[in-house]
Amino acid sequence: MCCSAGWPAVVSLLPGPPAVDAPAARPRRGRSRAGRWLLRGVAVLYIGILVAVPLALVFQRTIADGADAFWDAISAPDAVHAFTVTAEIALVAVAINTVFGLGVALLLARYRFAGRRLFNVLLDIPVSVSPIVVGLALVLVYGPTQGWFGPSLSNAGVQVIFALPGMVLATCFVSLPLVVRELVPVLQEEGLDQEVAARSLGANSWQRFVRITLPTIRWALAYGVVLSLARAIGEYGAVRVVSGDVIGQTQTATLRVGDLAEQGEPGDYQIALVLVLFAILCIVGISLLRPKEKKS
Protein backbone atom coordinates (compact mmCIF):
# COMPACT_ATOMS: atom_id res chain seq x y z
CA MET A 1 0.00 0.00 0.00
CA CYS A 2 1.25 3.40 -0.87
CA CYS A 3 1.70 5.91 1.88
CA SER A 4 -0.69 8.30 0.21
CA ALA A 5 -3.56 5.84 0.05
CA GLY A 6 -5.19 7.20 3.17
CA TRP A 7 -5.75 10.74 2.05
CA PRO A 8 -8.64 10.87 -0.36
CA ALA A 9 -10.38 13.76 1.32
CA VAL A 10 -7.28 15.89 1.33
CA VAL A 11 -6.09 14.95 -2.10
CA SER A 12 -9.33 16.00 -3.67
CA LEU A 13 -8.97 19.50 -2.31
CA LEU A 14 -5.32 20.06 -3.05
CA PRO A 15 -3.34 20.32 -6.25
CA GLY A 16 -2.87 16.68 -7.13
CA PRO A 17 -0.08 15.06 -9.07
CA PRO A 18 0.14 16.12 -12.72
CA ALA A 19 -2.74 14.57 -14.59
CA VAL A 20 -1.54 11.46 -16.37
CA ASP A 21 -3.23 10.64 -19.64
CA ALA A 22 -4.64 7.22 -19.11
CA PRO A 23 -4.01 5.01 -22.14
CA ALA A 24 -7.71 4.28 -22.38
CA ALA A 25 -8.47 7.96 -22.79
CA ARG A 26 -6.12 8.43 -25.73
CA PRO A 27 -8.30 7.46 -28.65
CA ARG A 28 -10.92 9.98 -27.60
CA ARG A 29 -8.48 12.82 -27.66
CA GLY A 30 -8.71 13.86 -31.26
CA ARG A 31 -12.46 13.67 -31.42
CA SER A 32 -13.21 15.77 -28.40
CA ARG A 33 -10.49 18.40 -28.61
CA ALA A 34 -13.04 21.14 -29.14
CA GLY A 35 -15.11 19.83 -26.25
CA ARG A 36 -12.10 19.82 -23.98
CA TRP A 37 -11.29 23.41 -24.79
CA LEU A 38 -14.89 24.41 -24.24
CA LEU A 39 -14.94 22.71 -20.84
CA ARG A 40 -11.70 24.33 -19.87
CA GLY A 41 -12.99 27.70 -20.98
CA VAL A 42 -16.18 27.34 -18.96
CA ALA A 43 -14.25 26.25 -15.86
CA VAL A 44 -11.79 29.12 -16.10
CA LEU A 45 -14.55 31.64 -16.75
CA TYR A 46 -16.56 30.33 -13.79
CA ILE A 47 -13.66 30.47 -11.33
CA GLY A 48 -12.63 33.79 -12.83
CA ILE A 49 -15.98 35.48 -12.36
CA LEU A 50 -16.60 33.98 -8.95
CA VAL A 51 -13.19 34.11 -7.33
CA ALA A 52 -10.33 35.57 -9.26
CA VAL A 53 -11.81 38.84 -10.52
CA PRO A 54 -13.32 40.01 -7.22
CA LEU A 55 -10.16 39.16 -5.31
CA ALA A 56 -7.99 40.80 -7.95
CA LEU A 57 -10.09 43.94 -7.62
CA VAL A 58 -9.47 44.00 -3.87
CA PHE A 59 -5.76 43.84 -4.63
CA GLN A 60 -6.03 46.49 -7.31
CA ARG A 61 -8.05 48.82 -5.11
CA THR A 62 -5.58 48.48 -2.25
CA ILE A 63 -2.60 49.08 -4.49
CA ALA A 64 -4.31 52.05 -6.08
CA ASP A 65 -4.78 53.66 -2.67
CA GLY A 66 -1.06 53.44 -2.09
CA ALA A 67 1.27 52.07 0.57
CA ASP A 68 0.59 54.87 3.06
CA ALA A 69 -3.14 54.26 3.01
CA PHE A 70 -2.48 50.56 3.52
CA TRP A 71 -0.22 51.14 6.46
CA ASP A 72 -2.54 53.71 8.03
CA ALA A 73 -5.52 51.38 7.68
CA ILE A 74 -3.92 48.37 9.25
CA SER A 75 -1.97 50.17 11.97
CA ALA A 76 -4.81 52.28 13.30
CA PRO A 77 -5.33 51.36 16.98
CA ASP A 78 -8.84 50.11 16.35
CA ALA A 79 -7.62 48.01 13.41
CA VAL A 80 -4.81 46.51 15.47
CA HIS A 81 -7.31 45.75 18.20
CA ALA A 82 -9.66 44.14 15.67
CA PHE A 83 -6.86 41.94 14.33
CA THR A 84 -5.95 40.96 17.87
CA VAL A 85 -9.52 40.03 18.71
CA THR A 86 -9.77 38.01 15.51
CA ALA A 87 -6.50 36.21 16.27
CA GLU A 88 -7.53 35.44 19.85
CA ILE A 89 -10.92 34.10 18.88
CA ALA A 90 -9.54 32.11 15.95
CA LEU A 91 -6.76 30.51 17.98
CA VAL A 92 -8.98 29.54 20.88
CA ALA A 93 -11.78 28.29 18.62
CA VAL A 94 -9.36 26.29 16.45
CA ALA A 95 -7.70 24.79 19.51
CA ILE A 96 -11.08 23.75 20.93
CA ASN A 97 -12.23 22.42 17.57
CA THR A 98 -9.02 20.45 17.06
CA VAL A 99 -9.26 18.67 20.38
CA PHE A 100 -12.98 18.11 20.01
CA GLY A 101 -12.57 17.13 16.35
CA LEU A 102 -9.94 14.52 17.18
CA GLY A 103 -12.10 13.02 19.89
CA VAL A 104 -15.25 12.94 17.79
CA ALA A 105 -13.42 11.59 14.73
CA LEU A 106 -11.96 8.74 16.80
CA LEU A 107 -15.39 8.05 18.24
CA LEU A 108 -17.10 8.01 14.84
CA ALA A 109 -14.40 6.02 13.08
CA ARG A 110 -13.76 3.38 15.71
CA TYR A 111 -16.92 2.82 17.69
CA ARG A 112 -20.44 1.79 16.89
CA PHE A 113 -22.91 3.25 19.34
CA ALA A 114 -26.62 3.94 19.53
CA GLY A 115 -27.46 7.26 17.91
CA ARG A 116 -24.29 7.33 15.85
CA ARG A 117 -26.12 8.30 12.67
CA LEU A 118 -28.10 11.04 14.37
CA PHE A 119 -24.89 12.35 15.87
CA ASN A 120 -23.34 12.34 12.41
CA VAL A 121 -26.20 14.44 11.03
CA LEU A 122 -26.09 16.88 13.96
CA LEU A 123 -22.42 17.47 13.26
CA ASP A 124 -23.20 18.84 9.82
CA ILE A 125 -25.89 21.26 10.95
CA PRO A 126 -23.48 24.08 11.83
CA VAL A 127 -22.22 24.38 8.26
CA SER A 128 -25.67 24.25 6.73
CA VAL A 129 -27.45 26.66 9.07
CA SER A 130 -27.03 30.39 8.42
CA PRO A 131 -24.50 31.93 10.84
CA ILE A 132 -26.99 34.67 11.71
CA VAL A 133 -29.34 31.99 12.99
CA VAL A 134 -26.48 30.49 14.98
CA GLY A 135 -25.82 33.86 16.54
CA LEU A 136 -29.46 34.40 17.45
CA ALA A 137 -29.69 30.91 18.89
CA LEU A 138 -26.68 31.54 21.10
CA VAL A 139 -28.24 34.77 22.35
CA LEU A 140 -31.38 32.81 23.23
CA VAL A 141 -29.32 30.42 25.32
CA TYR A 142 -26.69 32.68 26.86
CA GLY A 143 -28.27 36.14 26.66
CA PRO A 144 -27.63 37.94 29.96
CA THR A 145 -31.25 38.97 30.59
CA GLN A 146 -33.50 36.46 28.85
CA GLY A 147 -31.23 33.56 27.93
CA TRP A 148 -31.75 30.06 29.26
CA PHE A 149 -28.80 30.09 31.58
CA GLY A 150 -27.42 33.50 30.67
CA PRO A 151 -28.79 35.18 33.82
CA SER A 152 -27.26 32.65 36.16
CA LEU A 153 -23.94 32.91 34.32
CA SER A 154 -24.04 36.67 34.48
CA ASN A 155 -24.86 36.55 38.20
CA ALA A 156 -21.75 34.42 38.58
CA GLY A 157 -19.83 37.16 36.82
CA VAL A 158 -19.41 35.37 33.50
CA GLN A 159 -20.45 37.38 30.51
CA VAL A 160 -20.89 35.28 27.36
CA ILE A 161 -22.91 37.40 24.97
CA PHE A 162 -21.30 40.69 23.89
CA ALA A 163 -17.97 39.31 25.06
CA LEU A 164 -15.18 37.06 23.88
CA PRO A 165 -16.60 33.76 25.25
CA GLY A 166 -19.72 34.16 23.11
CA MET A 167 -17.65 35.01 20.05
CA VAL A 168 -15.46 31.95 20.59
CA LEU A 169 -18.57 29.87 21.04
CA ALA A 170 -20.08 31.18 17.80
CA THR A 171 -16.85 30.59 15.92
CA CYS A 172 -16.52 27.06 17.28
CA PHE A 173 -20.08 26.40 16.25
CA VAL A 174 -19.71 27.45 12.63
CA SER A 175 -16.45 25.52 12.14
CA LEU A 176 -17.51 22.50 14.19
CA PRO A 177 -17.32 19.67 11.61
CA LEU A 178 -14.34 20.87 9.57
CA VAL A 179 -11.68 18.90 11.48
CA VAL A 180 -13.90 15.87 12.04
CA ARG A 181 -14.78 15.55 8.37
CA GLU A 182 -11.12 15.53 7.35
CA LEU A 183 -10.13 12.93 9.94
CA VAL A 184 -12.87 10.33 9.78
CA PRO A 185 -12.13 9.00 6.25
CA VAL A 186 -8.43 8.68 7.01
CA LEU A 187 -9.04 6.91 10.30
CA GLN A 188 -11.47 4.53 8.64
CA GLU A 189 -9.10 3.82 5.79
CA GLU A 190 -6.19 3.05 8.09
CA GLY A 191 -8.21 0.86 10.41
CA LEU A 192 -6.80 -0.51 13.64
CA ASP A 193 -4.01 -2.79 12.40
CA GLN A 194 -1.19 -0.47 13.35
CA GLU A 195 -2.77 0.34 16.70
CA VAL A 196 -3.10 -3.33 17.55
CA ALA A 197 0.49 -3.98 16.49
CA ALA A 198 1.70 -1.10 18.65
CA ARG A 199 -0.30 -2.47 21.56
CA SER A 200 1.28 -5.88 21.21
CA LEU A 201 4.68 -4.15 21.26
CA GLY A 202 3.92 -2.64 24.64
CA ALA A 203 2.54 0.80 23.77
CA ASN A 204 -0.16 2.11 26.11
CA SER A 205 -3.07 4.14 24.72
CA TRP A 206 -1.34 7.49 25.04
CA GLN A 207 1.82 6.17 23.37
CA ARG A 208 -0.29 4.67 20.59
CA PHE A 209 -2.07 7.97 20.09
CA VAL A 210 1.13 9.99 19.93
CA ARG A 211 3.30 7.54 18.00
CA ILE A 212 0.78 5.94 15.65
CA THR A 213 -2.54 7.75 15.41
CA LEU A 214 -1.26 11.32 15.22
CA PRO A 215 1.46 10.67 12.61
CA THR A 216 -1.05 8.72 10.56
CA ILE A 217 -3.58 11.53 10.45
CA ARG A 218 -1.17 14.46 10.61
CA TRP A 219 -1.87 15.83 7.14
CA ALA A 220 -5.60 15.43 7.37
CA LEU A 221 -5.44 17.10 10.78
CA ALA A 222 -3.29 19.94 9.43
CA TYR A 223 -5.73 20.45 6.59
CA GLY A 224 -8.71 20.41 8.92
CA VAL A 225 -6.99 22.91 11.22
CA VAL A 226 -6.22 25.23 8.31
CA LEU A 227 -9.80 25.05 7.07
CA SER A 228 -11.07 25.79 10.57
CA LEU A 229 -8.64 28.64 10.94
CA ALA A 230 -9.70 30.17 7.64
CA ARG A 231 -13.35 29.75 8.57
CA ALA A 232 -12.79 31.20 12.04
CA ILE A 233 -11.00 34.26 10.71
CA GLY A 234 -13.61 34.83 8.05
CA GLU A 235 -16.67 34.41 10.29
CA TYR A 236 -19.01 37.41 10.22
CA GLY A 237 -22.69 36.72 10.79
CA ALA A 238 -22.76 34.74 14.00
CA VAL A 239 -20.02 36.81 15.56
CA ARG A 240 -21.78 40.00 14.58
CA VAL A 241 -24.92 38.98 16.47
CA VAL A 242 -23.21 37.77 19.65
CA SER A 243 -20.43 40.38 19.83
CA GLY A 244 -22.40 43.58 19.79
CA ASP A 245 -19.62 44.86 17.49
CA VAL A 246 -18.19 47.42 19.89
CA ILE A 247 -15.23 49.21 18.30
CA GLY A 248 -12.05 48.69 20.26
CA GLN A 249 -13.69 45.94 22.35
CA THR A 250 -15.54 43.21 20.53
CA GLN A 251 -14.91 44.26 16.95
CA THR A 252 -13.13 41.63 14.88
CA ALA A 253 -11.29 42.26 11.62
CA THR A 254 -14.21 41.07 9.50
CA LEU A 255 -16.67 43.16 11.48
CA ARG A 256 -14.40 46.14 10.97
CA VAL A 257 -14.31 45.58 7.22
CA GLY A 258 -18.11 45.45 7.24
CA ASP A 259 -18.48 48.59 9.33
CA LEU A 260 -16.00 50.61 7.33
CA ALA A 261 -17.57 49.55 4.06
CA GLU A 262 -21.06 50.39 5.34
CA GLN A 263 -20.00 53.82 6.55
CA GLY A 264 -17.98 54.52 3.40
CA GLU A 265 -14.84 55.09 5.43
CA PRO A 266 -11.39 54.19 4.13
CA GLY A 267 -9.50 51.09 5.25
CA ASP A 268 -12.01 48.37 4.39
CA TYR A 269 -10.15 47.05 1.32
CA GLN A 270 -6.82 47.17 3.07
CA ILE A 271 -8.00 45.06 5.98
CA ALA A 272 -9.85 42.75 3.62
CA LEU A 273 -6.63 42.23 1.69
CA VAL A 274 -4.79 41.19 4.85
CA LEU A 275 -7.50 38.61 5.54
CA VAL A 276 -7.37 37.29 1.97
CA LEU A 277 -3.57 37.09 2.01
CA PHE A 278 -3.65 35.13 5.23
CA ALA A 279 -6.13 32.64 3.84
CA ILE A 280 -4.08 32.20 0.66
CA LEU A 281 -0.96 31.72 2.77
CA CYS A 282 -2.64 28.92 4.73
CA ILE A 283 -3.81 27.06 1.64
CA VAL A 284 -0.53 27.49 -0.25
CA GLY A 285 1.47 26.51 2.80
CA ILE A 286 -0.26 23.23 3.27
CA SER A 287 -0.30 22.32 -0.41
CA LEU A 288 3.45 22.93 -0.51
CA LEU A 289 3.97 20.67 2.48
CA ARG A 290 1.90 17.84 1.07
CA PRO A 291 4.00 16.70 -1.94
CA LYS A 292 7.03 16.28 0.30
CA GLU A 293 5.09 13.73 2.22
CA LYS A 294 4.14 11.89 -0.95
CA LYS A 295 7.69 11.57 -2.22
CA SER A 296 9.08 10.12 0.98
Binding site: C3, R199, S200, G202, A203
Partner: protein, 329 residues
Protein backbone atom coordinates in the same frame (compact mmCIF):
# COMPACT_ATOMS: atom_id res chain seq x y z
CA UNK B 1 5.98 -23.70 31.00
CA UNK B 2 5.03 -22.44 27.58
CA UNK B 3 1.38 -21.57 27.15
CA UNK B 4 -1.49 -23.15 29.08
CA UNK B 5 -5.00 -22.42 27.87
CA UNK B 6 -7.71 -23.70 30.20
CA UNK B 7 -11.41 -24.01 29.46
CA UNK B 8 -11.54 -20.93 27.28
CA UNK B 9 -14.91 -20.00 25.81
CA UNK B 10 -15.53 -17.01 23.57
CA UNK B 11 -18.78 -15.90 21.97
CA UNK B 12 -19.45 -13.09 19.53
CA UNK B 13 -23.16 -12.49 19.96
CA UNK B 14 -24.87 -15.74 18.99
CA UNK B 15 -21.74 -17.18 17.42
CA UNK B 16 -19.55 -19.38 19.57
CA UNK B 17 -15.99 -18.90 18.38
CA UNK B 18 -14.39 -21.09 21.03
CA UNK B 19 -16.09 -23.61 23.24
CA UNK B 20 -14.32 -24.84 26.37
CA UNK B 21 -10.90 -25.08 24.77
CA UNK B 22 -7.91 -26.55 26.61
CA UNK B 23 -4.48 -26.38 25.04
CA UNK B 24 -0.96 -26.61 26.24
CA UNK B 25 1.86 -25.35 24.05
CA UNK B 26 5.26 -26.61 25.16
CA UNK B 27 8.01 -24.09 25.60
CA UNK B 28 10.38 -23.62 22.66
CA UNK B 29 8.29 -25.46 20.10
CA UNK B 30 6.80 -24.33 16.85
CA UNK B 31 3.10 -25.15 17.01
CA UNK B 32 0.59 -24.69 14.22
CA UNK B 33 -3.10 -23.98 14.77
CA UNK B 34 -4.70 -25.48 11.70
CA UNK B 35 -8.32 -25.36 10.70
CA UNK B 36 -10.89 -23.97 8.30
CA UNK B 37 -11.80 -20.27 8.27
CA UNK B 38 -14.15 -19.31 11.06
CA UNK B 39 -13.10 -22.32 13.12
CA UNK B 40 -11.81 -20.20 15.99
CA UNK B 41 -8.05 -20.53 15.53
CA UNK B 42 -7.41 -16.80 15.12
CA UNK B 43 -9.64 -16.02 18.07
CA UNK B 44 -7.63 -18.42 20.21
CA UNK B 45 -4.40 -16.75 19.09
CA UNK B 46 -5.79 -13.29 19.83
CA UNK B 47 -6.93 -14.42 23.28
CA UNK B 48 -3.46 -15.75 24.03
CA UNK B 49 -2.01 -12.44 22.82
CA UNK B 50 -4.46 -10.41 24.90
CA UNK B 51 -6.14 -8.80 21.91
CA UNK B 52 -9.43 -10.43 22.85
CA UNK B 53 -10.78 -11.31 26.29
CA UNK B 54 -12.20 -14.78 26.84
CA UNK B 55 -15.73 -15.00 28.23
CA UNK B 56 -14.48 -17.66 30.60
CA UNK B 57 -11.36 -19.71 31.14
CA UNK B 58 -7.75 -18.69 31.67
CA UNK B 59 -4.48 -18.23 29.83
CA UNK B 60 -1.15 -18.87 31.47
CA UNK B 61 2.14 -17.85 29.86
CA UNK B 62 5.37 -19.24 31.32
CA UNK B 63 3.58 -20.24 34.49
CA UNK B 64 2.03 -16.82 35.12
CA UNK B 65 -1.71 -16.19 34.81
CA UNK B 66 -2.05 -13.68 31.97
CA UNK B 67 -5.83 -13.77 31.54
CA UNK B 68 -6.37 -10.23 32.82
CA UNK B 69 -3.04 -8.79 31.73
CA UNK B 70 -3.53 -6.25 28.92
CA UNK B 71 -1.84 -7.01 25.61
CA UNK B 72 0.77 -4.27 26.01
CA UNK B 73 2.08 -5.91 29.19
CA UNK B 74 2.08 -9.55 28.10
CA UNK B 75 5.39 -9.31 26.27
CA UNK B 76 4.07 -11.35 23.41
CA UNK B 77 5.28 -10.86 19.85
CA UNK B 78 2.48 -10.63 17.31
CA UNK B 79 2.78 -10.93 13.53
CA UNK B 80 -0.32 -10.12 11.47
CA UNK B 81 -1.49 -11.35 8.10
CA UNK B 82 -1.47 -7.85 6.61
CA UNK B 83 1.87 -6.89 8.17
CA UNK B 84 0.45 -3.94 10.18
CA UNK B 85 3.63 -2.05 9.34
CA UNK B 86 3.94 1.43 10.82
CA UNK B 87 3.71 3.28 7.53
CA UNK B 88 5.22 6.55 8.68
CA UNK B 89 8.31 4.94 10.23
CA UNK B 90 11.39 3.56 8.50
CA UNK B 91 12.18 -0.13 8.66
CA UNK B 92 14.70 0.62 11.41
CA UNK B 93 12.19 2.58 13.51
CA UNK B 94 9.54 -0.08 12.95
CA UNK B 95 11.82 -2.72 14.41
CA UNK B 96 12.98 -0.36 17.14
CA UNK B 97 9.40 0.51 18.20
CA UNK B 98 9.05 -1.92 21.09
CA UNK B 99 12.50 -1.02 22.41
CA UNK B 100 11.77 2.72 22.20
CA UNK B 101 8.56 2.16 24.15
CA UNK B 102 10.64 0.36 26.77
CA UNK B 103 13.08 3.29 26.84
CA UNK B 104 16.14 1.23 26.14
CA UNK B 105 19.40 3.15 25.64
CA UNK B 106 20.03 4.39 22.10
CA UNK B 107 23.14 2.30 21.44
CA UNK B 108 21.44 -0.85 22.67
CA UNK B 109 18.53 -0.17 20.31
CA UNK B 110 20.91 0.42 17.41
CA UNK B 111 22.75 -2.81 18.10
CA UNK B 112 19.67 -4.98 18.63
CA UNK B 113 17.85 -3.63 15.59
CA UNK B 114 20.99 -4.04 13.49
CA UNK B 115 21.27 -7.68 14.52
CA UNK B 116 17.61 -8.35 13.85
CA UNK B 117 17.68 -6.69 10.43
CA UNK B 118 20.64 -8.89 9.58
CA UNK B 119 18.72 -11.91 10.79
CA UNK B 120 15.80 -11.12 8.49
CA UNK B 121 18.10 -10.02 5.65
CA UNK B 122 16.88 -6.44 5.59
CA UNK B 123 20.05 -4.68 6.76
CA UNK B 124 20.34 -2.67 3.54
CA UNK B 125 16.70 -1.54 3.80
CA UNK B 126 16.95 0.06 7.25
CA UNK B 127 16.18 3.57 5.99
CA UNK B 128 13.33 2.64 3.69
CA UNK B 129 9.67 3.09 4.42
CA UNK B 130 7.44 0.00 4.47
CA UNK B 131 5.75 1.21 1.28
CA UNK B 132 9.08 0.69 -0.49
CA UNK B 133 9.26 -2.98 0.46
CA UNK B 134 7.70 -6.06 -1.10
CA UNK B 135 5.14 -8.09 0.81
CA UNK B 136 7.67 -10.71 1.83
CA UNK B 137 10.11 -8.06 3.02
CA UNK B 138 7.39 -6.32 4.99
CA UNK B 139 6.48 -9.55 6.73
CA UNK B 140 10.14 -10.21 7.59
CA UNK B 141 10.29 -6.69 9.01
CA UNK B 142 7.16 -7.39 11.05
CA UNK B 143 8.79 -10.54 12.38
CA UNK B 144 11.95 -8.67 13.36
CA UNK B 145 9.78 -6.04 15.04
CA UNK B 146 7.96 -8.72 17.04
CA UNK B 147 11.24 -10.38 18.06
CA UNK B 148 12.96 -7.15 19.11
CA UNK B 149 11.51 -7.10 22.60
CA UNK B 150 12.52 -10.73 23.19
CA UNK B 151 8.95 -11.87 23.70
CA UNK B 152 8.20 -14.96 25.74
CA UNK B 153 5.89 -16.12 23.00
CA UNK B 154 5.70 -15.37 19.30
CA UNK B 155 2.22 -15.44 17.78
CA UNK B 156 1.72 -15.39 14.02
CA UNK B 157 -1.75 -14.95 12.54
CA UNK B 158 -1.79 -16.37 8.99
CA UNK B 159 1.62 -14.78 8.51
CA UNK B 160 2.03 -15.83 4.90
CA UNK B 161 -1.62 -15.58 3.89
CA UNK B 162 -1.25 -12.37 1.90
CA UNK B 163 1.83 -13.47 -0.04
CA UNK B 164 2.03 -15.22 -3.36
CA UNK B 165 2.81 -18.93 -3.52
CA UNK B 166 6.53 -18.68 -4.28
CA UNK B 167 7.29 -16.15 -1.52
CA UNK B 168 5.12 -18.09 0.88
CA UNK B 169 7.16 -21.22 0.32
CA UNK B 170 10.45 -19.38 0.84
CA UNK B 171 9.29 -17.63 4.00
CA UNK B 172 7.96 -20.88 5.38
CA UNK B 173 11.36 -22.58 5.07
CA UNK B 174 12.99 -19.49 6.45
CA UNK B 175 10.67 -19.36 9.47
CA UNK B 176 11.51 -22.99 10.22
CA UNK B 177 15.25 -22.31 10.11
CA UNK B 178 14.83 -19.13 12.14
CA UNK B 179 12.95 -21.03 14.80
CA UNK B 180 15.64 -23.71 14.90
CA UNK B 181 18.11 -20.94 15.72
CA UNK B 182 16.03 -18.95 18.19
CA UNK B 183 13.79 -21.51 19.93
CA UNK B 184 11.21 -18.97 20.99
CA UNK B 185 7.85 -20.57 21.78
CA UNK B 186 5.94 -19.97 18.57
CA UNK B 187 2.29 -20.43 17.75
CA UNK B 188 1.09 -19.80 14.24
CA UNK B 189 -2.33 -19.87 12.68
CA UNK B 190 -2.84 -21.24 9.20
CA UNK B 191 -5.53 -22.81 7.09
CA UNK B 192 -2.92 -24.28 4.74
CA UNK B 193 -2.35 -27.93 5.68
CA UNK B 194 0.83 -28.21 3.67
CA UNK B 195 2.26 -25.22 5.51
CA UNK B 196 1.28 -26.69 8.86
CA UNK B 197 2.62 -30.16 8.09
CA UNK B 198 5.88 -28.82 6.74
CA UNK B 199 6.78 -26.20 9.33
CA UNK B 200 5.43 -27.24 12.70
CA UNK B 201 6.72 -29.45 15.51
CA UNK B 202 3.19 -29.84 16.75
CA UNK B 203 -0.16 -29.46 15.10
CA UNK B 204 -3.43 -28.42 16.69
CA UNK B 205 -6.45 -28.98 14.49
CA UNK B 206 -9.32 -26.65 15.36
CA UNK B 207 -12.81 -26.78 13.93
CA UNK B 208 -16.08 -25.14 14.97
CA UNK B 209 -14.58 -23.71 18.13
CA UNK B 210 -13.20 -27.03 19.38
CA UNK B 211 -9.83 -28.70 19.26
CA UNK B 212 -10.15 -31.85 17.19
CA UNK B 213 -6.71 -33.30 17.77
CA UNK B 214 -3.21 -32.36 18.91
CA UNK B 215 0.00 -34.11 18.00
CA UNK B 216 3.02 -34.20 15.74
CA UNK B 217 2.31 -33.77 12.03
CA UNK B 218 3.17 -37.45 11.44
CA UNK B 219 0.87 -38.62 14.24
CA UNK B 220 -2.01 -36.58 12.97
CA UNK B 221 -1.51 -37.61 9.38
CA UNK B 222 -1.10 -41.32 10.16
CA UNK B 223 -3.48 -41.64 13.10
CA UNK B 224 -6.23 -39.08 12.74
CA UNK B 225 -8.73 -39.39 15.55
CA UNK B 226 -11.73 -38.59 13.38
CA UNK B 227 -12.82 -38.11 9.81
CA UNK B 228 -12.54 -34.31 10.02
CA UNK B 229 -8.85 -34.43 10.93
CA UNK B 230 -8.24 -37.15 8.39
CA UNK B 231 -9.82 -35.28 5.52
CA UNK B 232 -8.40 -31.91 6.56
CA UNK B 233 -4.83 -33.17 6.61
CA UNK B 234 -4.83 -35.02 3.32
CA UNK B 235 -6.81 -36.64 0.56
CA UNK B 236 -9.33 -39.24 1.68
CA UNK B 237 -11.40 -41.74 -0.23
CA UNK B 238 -14.00 -44.31 0.72
CA UNK B 239 -13.47 -48.04 0.33
CA UNK B 240 -15.91 -50.65 1.53
CA UNK B 241 -17.39 -48.44 4.25
CA UNK B 242 -14.00 -47.20 5.48
CA UNK B 243 -12.16 -43.94 4.99
CA UNK B 244 -8.66 -44.45 3.72
CA UNK B 245 -5.96 -42.39 2.06
CA UNK B 246 -5.91 -42.94 -1.71
CA UNK B 247 -2.20 -43.79 -1.65
CA UNK B 248 -2.89 -46.47 0.98
CA UNK B 249 -4.95 -48.70 -1.30
CA UNK B 250 -3.40 -51.78 -2.93
CA UNK B 251 -4.73 -52.81 -6.31
CA UNK B 252 -4.62 -56.48 -7.40
CA UNK B 253 -5.50 -57.84 -10.80
CA UNK B 254 -6.58 -61.15 -9.19
CA UNK B 255 -8.73 -61.86 -6.14
CA UNK B 256 -6.90 -61.41 -2.85
CA UNK B 257 -7.69 -61.90 0.85
CA UNK B 258 -10.04 -59.21 2.15
CA UNK B 259 -10.02 -57.33 -1.13
CA UNK B 260 -13.20 -56.03 -2.71
CA UNK B 261 -13.90 -56.40 -6.38
CA UNK B 262 -14.13 -53.27 -8.47
CA UNK B 263 -13.92 -51.86 -11.96
CA UNK B 264 -11.62 -49.14 -13.24
CA UNK B 265 -13.71 -46.26 -14.54
CA UNK B 266 -11.04 -43.84 -15.59
CA UNK B 267 -7.29 -43.23 -15.35
CA UNK B 268 -5.96 -39.73 -15.05
CA UNK B 269 -2.33 -38.81 -15.28
CA UNK B 270 -1.09 -35.78 -13.34
CA UNK B 271 2.66 -35.40 -13.74
CA UNK B 272 4.32 -38.32 -11.96
CA UNK B 273 1.10 -39.56 -10.40
CA UNK B 274 -1.79 -41.55 -11.80
CA UNK B 275 -5.28 -41.34 -10.33
CA UNK B 276 -7.50 -44.31 -10.86
CA UNK B 277 -11.21 -43.82 -10.35
CA UNK B 278 -13.01 -47.04 -9.62
CA UNK B 279 -16.38 -48.50 -8.80
CA UNK B 280 -16.43 -50.99 -5.95
CA UNK B 281 -19.85 -52.01 -4.67
CA UNK B 282 -21.68 -48.98 -3.32
CA UNK B 283 -18.61 -46.74 -3.18
CA UNK B 284 -16.52 -45.11 -5.84
CA UNK B 285 -12.99 -44.86 -4.44
CA UNK B 286 -10.02 -43.35 -6.18
CA UNK B 287 -6.49 -44.62 -5.86
CA UNK B 288 -3.28 -42.71 -6.14
CA UNK B 289 -0.58 -44.64 -7.98
CA UNK B 290 2.84 -43.89 -9.32
CA UNK B 291 3.25 -44.11 -13.05
CA UNK B 292 5.37 -47.25 -12.59
CA UNK B 293 2.70 -48.96 -10.48
CA UNK B 294 -0.02 -48.14 -12.99
CA UNK B 295 2.07 -49.51 -15.85
CA UNK B 296 3.06 -52.76 -14.13
CA UNK B 297 -0.59 -53.42 -13.20
CA UNK B 298 -1.61 -52.88 -16.81
CA UNK B 299 -4.94 -51.43 -15.84
CA UNK B 300 -7.16 -49.39 -18.11
CA UNK B 301 -10.75 -48.19 -18.05
CA UNK B 302 -12.99 -51.26 -17.76
CA UNK B 303 -10.38 -53.54 -16.12
CA UNK B 304 -11.68 -55.60 -13.21
CA UNK B 305 -9.47 -55.30 -10.12
CA UNK B 306 -9.48 -56.13 -6.40
CA UNK B 307 -8.89 -53.41 -3.82
CA UNK B 308 -7.65 -53.55 -0.24
CA UNK B 309 -6.31 -51.02 2.26
CA UNK B 310 -2.53 -51.45 2.45
CA UNK B 311 -1.02 -53.11 5.50
CA UNK B 312 -0.55 -50.56 8.29
CA UNK B 313 -2.72 -47.97 6.55
CA UNK B 314 -4.80 -45.82 8.84
CA UNK B 315 -8.50 -46.19 8.20
CA UNK B 316 -11.59 -44.86 9.88
CA UNK B 317 -15.20 -45.88 9.81
CA UNK B 318 -16.86 -43.81 7.14
CA UNK B 319 -19.64 -41.50 8.37
CA UNK B 320 -23.10 -42.99 7.98
CA UNK B 321 -24.40 -40.90 5.15
CA UNK B 322 -22.88 -41.92 1.84
CA UNK B 323 -21.51 -38.60 0.72
CA UNK B 324 -19.23 -38.90 -2.25
CA UNK B 325 -15.73 -37.75 -1.36
CA UNK B 326 -14.69 -35.72 -4.37
CA UNK B 327 -11.48 -36.27 -6.26
CA UNK B 328 -9.38 -33.16 -5.77
CA UNK B 329 -8.83 -31.22 -8.96
Amino acid sequence: MGIEVRAVTKRFGEFTALSDVDLSVPSGELTALLGPSGGGKSTLLRIIGGLEDPDSGSVEIDGVDATRVPAQRRNVGFVFQHYAAFKHLTVFRNVAFGLEIRRRPKDEIRRTVGELLELVHLEQFADRLPSQLSGGQRQRMALARALATQPRVLLLDEPFGALDAQVRKELRDWLRRLHDEMHVTTLFVTHDREEALEVSDRLVVINSGRIEQVGSPTELYDKPSNDFVMSFLGPVTRLDGRLVRPHDIDIFTEPADGAVRGTVLRLQRIGFEVRAELEAGASRPWVQLTRGQAESLRIAAGTTVWLRAAAGASTLDAPAQEEPVPVPA
